[in-house]
Amino acid sequence: MATILVVEDDKNQRVLYEDELKEEGYHVILAKDGREAVRKVRDNKIDLVVLDIRMPGADGVETLSNIIAVNKKVPVILNTAYTSYKDNFMTWAAEKYIVKSSDLSELKKSIKEILDRKKPGE
């Protein structure tokens, strides 16, 4: 079972993502901020990270570079309500940039695609 780390500062959204992704058959780990996210990437075998951008403390862009510093191979999906970070160079290190919507189908589809692509090499 693939393990997904969801990094999201909003508690309600964390619960939502956890439920929905569990339903898809993934093992889900949660982090409420960038610092916790980096620690969990370091200490767990994570197959994919879903990362919010606007968070208190280190934002998602900075967290992304911190995640790469501890695990350069783990794929990251940036999942944000804003399109304005798309030009930011560091966000290009993410596997995918998804603009949040109430419907999680795009996110789920992307997770599946990335994990399928990853398998042969792992």
């Binding site: 570079s65 911190n66 790469i68 510093a69 350069k72 930011n88 160079f89 560091m90 290009w92």
Partner: protein, 410 residues
Amino acid sequence: MMNNVMTIILAGGRGERLYPLTKDRAKPAVPFGGIYRIIDFTLSNCLNSHVRKINVFTQYKSISLDRHIKLGWNIFNNELGEYINVIPPQQRTSENWYMGTADAIYQNIYSIEAERPEHVMILSGDHIYKMNYEMMFRFHVEKNADVTVGGIEFDVAKAARQFGILEINEDRRIIGFEEKPEHPKTIPGSPDKALSSMGIYIFKTDKLMRAVIEDTKKDSAHDFGKNIIPGMFKKDRVFAYLFVDENKKEVKYWRDIGTLDAYWEANMDLIEVTPVFNMYDKEWPLRTYQEQHPPAKTVFAQEHKGGRVGAALDSIISAGCIISGGKVQRSILSPEVRVNSYSNVFQSILMEGVNIGRHAKIKNAIIDKGVSIPEYAEIGYDLEKDRKHYTVTDSGIVVIPKGATVENDK
């Protein structure tokens, strides 16, 4: 023309093969030609090419380099958008030192982000040459290149099994790479020449950023020459710009002062009647930092037997030197060197503040900053003895490091 180009000079190499000259300083800060530091040649190229936005990325032993740039190169006008910044590792995207040239760029992604230039030019602070980067940039724009690599031609025979070779087509587009090939591919139109990378690059910024980000996630040497360029040329527009030498001599001058012997030889070239490397061209001025010193001086002209004669022949004598009754020949003296009576200095490089005691004899030596040679000491005459205390190179050059205490041989 160069307004939308950010220039990055990589000045973080350890220069281990130049040890002990790099004992206390990074390679770009190693003195050269009496008054210069190695990085001055690249910085002078920038100045002469209208390059005015410069970031120097330092790493190891950067104090000397940092000081030199602050004192000597703080000539840019911020109000005109010009600057020179010396940037040590920020440890913002990594807790490691730079793992390679590409990693140095990746780790500074935020400083490039902050300015978002259209193009980034990447230079090395290690090389001695004269080049107009504006011409290379013009070529880069004309070709609409994603990246342009500076290349220097070598005779095929010399290049074989020696260098990484760039294969180009008639349009100068790079179509292949070979690492130290037996039979190098030649340049179209020049069947006896092969092209090697000079380690200088101009990138479209977004292409550079995508390339270094992709590279950082790989197990790679994180090196432009080994990883980035070979990974790009098949899918991107990668061109080679052929080095045009502003030194204007028959043979193109480009030196990576890789070894102590190469360092000594490149310095010795400067005292030839017509050196290969021309420091006197007013159209390509070389700049450095110099303290104020009184003029160089020679004293004693007692040309009778047993008398003292202070003289320098076939030599470079910097300001503040006093040659007081000793003889200097085929040597390079940095500022404030003192050569005392009855001493003899031959084919040597004496750095700033070196003192040569009376009756001392110095031959084929490099004496680093501030070293005092006592009376009657002999350096370079008995290499077995010198080898016990100092570095002696393959060709017999004795190197006395900073801070060394030299013993009296009498």
